[in-house]
C-alpha cells in the first residue's frame, strides 16, 4: 500500500512524447477514467521511452507508473505477451474484481497500442 501511494503521489513517466512510434488511448468503462500511452522504439523494436497521460485513481496511476518503468528495455514482442499477473506482482496488494480493471488499464493500453502498431487484432485474455 505504501509503495502504491508513493507511486501515486510521484508518478514516473508522466507526460507525452512528440512523434511517438505508438500512441493509444484507452478507457475504463466502469468509471470513465482515460489513459493515453506513448511509446518510442528503437530499430530492434525495443521500447526506449514510454509516457502516459490521463487522470485516474491511485491503483490505476500507481500501476501505470510501475508498469512504464518495468517495460522500458523490453521489445514490443515481449511487452505484448505480458500477463495480467505481471502487474499484480508489481502492485503486491490484494485487488477486488472491480479494482483489477483499474490496475490493468495501463497494461491493456500498452498491449492494444502494440497490436494496433503491428496491424493485428487484440484479443482480451478472458
Amino acid at each position: 500500500m505504501e509503495e502504491i501511494l508513493e507511486h501515486y503521489k510521484h508518478p514516473r513517466n508522466k507526460g507525452t512524447i512528440t512523434n511517438p512510434d505508438i500512441q493509444f488511448k484507452d478507457q475504463n468503462t466502469l468509471c470513465g477514467d482515460e489513459i493515453q500511452v506513448y511509446l518510442k522504439l528503437d530499430k530492434k523494436k525495443m521500447i526506449t521511452d514510454i509516457k502516459t497521460e490521463g487522470k485516474g485513481c491511485a491503483i490505476s496511476q500507481a500501476a501505470a507508473s510501475m508498469l512504464t518503468d518495468a517495460v522500458k528495455g523490453k521489445t514490443i514482442e515481449e511487452a505484448r505477451k505480458l500477463k495480467n499477473e505481471f502487474v499484480f506482482d508489481l502492485l503486491q496488494i490484494q485487488l477486488s474484481p472491480v479494482r483489477v480493471k483499474c490496475a490493468l488499464l495501463a497494461l491493456f493500453a500498452v498491449k492494444k497500442g502494440i497490436y494496433k502498431y503491428l496491424g493485428e487484432h487484440y484479443h482480451d485474455e478472458e
Binding site: 501511494l5 466502469l30 468509471c31 470513465g32 477514467d33 482515460e34 487522470k55 485516474g56 485513481c57 491511485a58 491503483i59 490505476s60 479494482r99 483499474c102
Partner: protein, 405 residues
C-alpha cells in the same frame, strides 16, 4: 436529530446484520439499488415454495393462485401512482420500459421529426432514443443544464415537429428535481407525447400520473425495495391501445394463425412470454410495505436526512458538493468530490469502514462532461438511513484524508 421513520426499521432488512470488513454496513447507494425488507424476500420464497406455476394458462389451483397474485401486484402498483390496472405493464426494468417506447413509438417517427431530451438523462433515457432516431432520421434535441445542474426549459425547443419529449423526473447524479408538470404542459401544447423517467422519484415520493397528466412513466422495482428484474411502464390506456407491441410471442396474443395474429388486451399485449412472476409478486409486497409507511412520510424522512447530510458534509474540509444549492429542488442524492482524491479511492477506503457509496460517472457521461467532471462520489439516502449513517461517513472521510495526505 430524530427523523420521521424510526431507526428500528433497519431490523426489517436482514442485510444490515451483515458485517463488512468487520464493520456494520452503512448503505448509502440506494439510488443505484435499494436493499430489501424480509417481507419481500419471504414473498419470493413463499411463491416458489407454495404457489409456483405458470400464469394465464393452467386450469388448476396453483396456476390460478399465481395468476391472481401476479395480477394483484399490477393493481397495487396502479393504486400507488393513481393509474388503472390496464395501464400498468411489467417489464424487466426502467431501461426496458423506455426501449419498449423507443421501439413502439420511435420507429413510427418520420424523417425530421424531433425527440426532445435533456442533457442530464441517464444513459437509459438517452441511448434508446438516440439510436432509434438514427434509424428513422429523427432529430434529437436537448434541454440544457446550467452549472447548478438545473434544467433551462427553453420554450423554443418545443416545436410542431416535436413528437416525443422524454425527461427524467430526478437526476440520478445530482438529485435535481425537474419541473416535469411544466415540461408535460409544454409538450402537450405542441402535441408531443411526454415520457417521464421516474426511476429516482417514485421510490421516494407520492406520484400521481393523472394529476401530472403524464403520457408514459417508467420506473424500476429494485430501487423501491422490490426484487431486480422487474420494472414498470405506465401508459395512458388510449395511447397503449393504439401502439404496436414491442415483444411478440406467447401470452401477448388472442388468436394466432400461420398468417396473422390478434393481440391480447392490456396490459398483457405488452408482456410477451412467461414474465418474472416471482419478482412481480414480491414487487407488489414491496409496494405494500412502502404504502404502509406512507410515501409522504418517506419523502419527509428523506428531506430531513438530506438536510442533515448537507450540513454535516459542508463542514468537512475539502468537500465540493454538486447540484442545486436550494435543497427544495433536490432529492436525497448528493454528488461530491473530496480533496482531489479520485472517487474510486474514496469509495475503496470508505468500504474498509463498511460504508457503501458510488464512485464514477453514474451512467450519465454527457452530464459529467457538462459539469466538467471525470467522475464523482455519490451518496444516496432512503427510508432505512439514519443520521448515524451520515456521522459514520463524515468520520470515515477523515480516514480517507489521512491515507492520502
Amino acid at each position: 436529530m430524530k427523523t420521521l421513520i424510526p431507526k428500528e426499521i433497519k431490523n426489517d432488512f436482514p442485510i444490515f446484520k451483515r458485517k463488512i470488513h468487520g464493520k456494520s454496513l452503512v448503505y448509502l447507494d440506494s439510488a443505484s439499488s435499494s436493499q430489501k425488507p424480509k417481507q419481500v424476500i419471504e414473498a419470493l420464497s413463499n411463491y416458489y415454495e407454495k404457489m409456483h406455476a405458470n400464469i394465464h394458462r393452467g386450469i388448476y389451483t396453483l396456476s390460478e393462485e399465481a395468476t391472481l397474485a401476479y395480477e394483484d401486484a399490477h393493481r397495487k402498483v396502479a393504486r400507488l401512482i393513481n393509474a388503472k390496472f390496464k395501464e400498468i405493464i411489467f417489464t424487466k426494468n426502467t431501461t426496458e420500459s423506455i426501449n419498449l417506447l423507443a421501439y413502439s413509438l420511435g420507429l413510427e417517427l418520420k424523417k425530421g421529426d424531433e425527440i426532445l431530451l435533456t442533457e442530464m438523462e441517464h444513459h437509459a433515457n438517452l441511448v434508446p432514443w438516440q439510436q432509434i432516431a438514427k434509424r428513422v432520421g429523427a432529430v434529437v434535441k436537448f434541454i440544457k443544464v446550467n452549472k447548478e445542474g438545473e434544467l433551462i426549459v427553453d420554450e423554443q425547443l418545443f416545436t410542431k415537429k416535436t413528437k416525443i419529449v422524454a425527461v427524467t423526473h430526478i437526476s440520478n447524479v445530482l438529485g435535481t428535481i425537474n419541473p416535469i408538470a411544466e415540461i408535460i404542459g409544454k409538450g402537450h401544447k405542441v402535441g408531443a407525447k411526454v415520457v417521464i423517467d421516474a426511476a429516482q422519484s417514485i421510490p421516494h415520493m407520492p406520484f400521481d400520473v393523472k394529476a401530472l397528466d403524464a403520457d408514459f412513466v417508467a420506473f424500476s422495482s429494485h430501487k423501491m425495495l422490490g426484487p431486480t428484474g422487474i420494472g414498470v411502464l405506465y401508459g395512458k390506456q388510449e395511447l397503449l391501445e393504439q401502439m404496436t407491441p414491442f415483444l411478440y410471442g406467447g401470452d401477448m396474443i388472442k388468436e394466432v394463425t400461420l398468417e396473422d395474429s390478434t393481440f391480447n388486451d392490456l396490459p398483457w399485449k405488452f408482456e410477451a412470454g412467461t414474465p418474472n412472476i416471482a419478482g412481480g409478486i414480491a414487487f407488489g409486497t414491496a409496494v405494500e410495505y412502502l404504502t404502509n409507511i406512507g410515501m409522504h412520510n418517506i419523502e419527509q424522512h428523506d428531506k430531513e436526512l438530506l438536510k442533515y447530510a448537507h450540513e454535516q458534509l459542508s463542514k468537512v474540509k475539502g468537500i465540493t458538493i454538486y447540484g442545486p444549492k436550494d435543497l427544495k429542488k433536490k432529492s436525497s442524492i448528493i454528488a461530491f468530490n473530496f480533496e482531489d482524491i479520485h472517487p474510486h479511492d474514496v469509495s475503496s477506503i470508505l468500504d474498509t469502514e463498511g460504508i457503501a457509496i458510488r464512485g464514477g460517472h453514474h451512467c450519465a457521461m454527457p452530464l459529467m462532461k457538462i459539469l466538467n467532471l471525470q467522475s464523482s462520489c455519490r451518496l444516496s439516502l432512503y427510508l432505512y438511513n439514519t443520521t448515524e449513517d451520515i456521522d459514520a461517513l463524515v468520520k470515515a472521510l477523515e480516514k480517507v484524508r489521512k491515507v492520502f495526505k
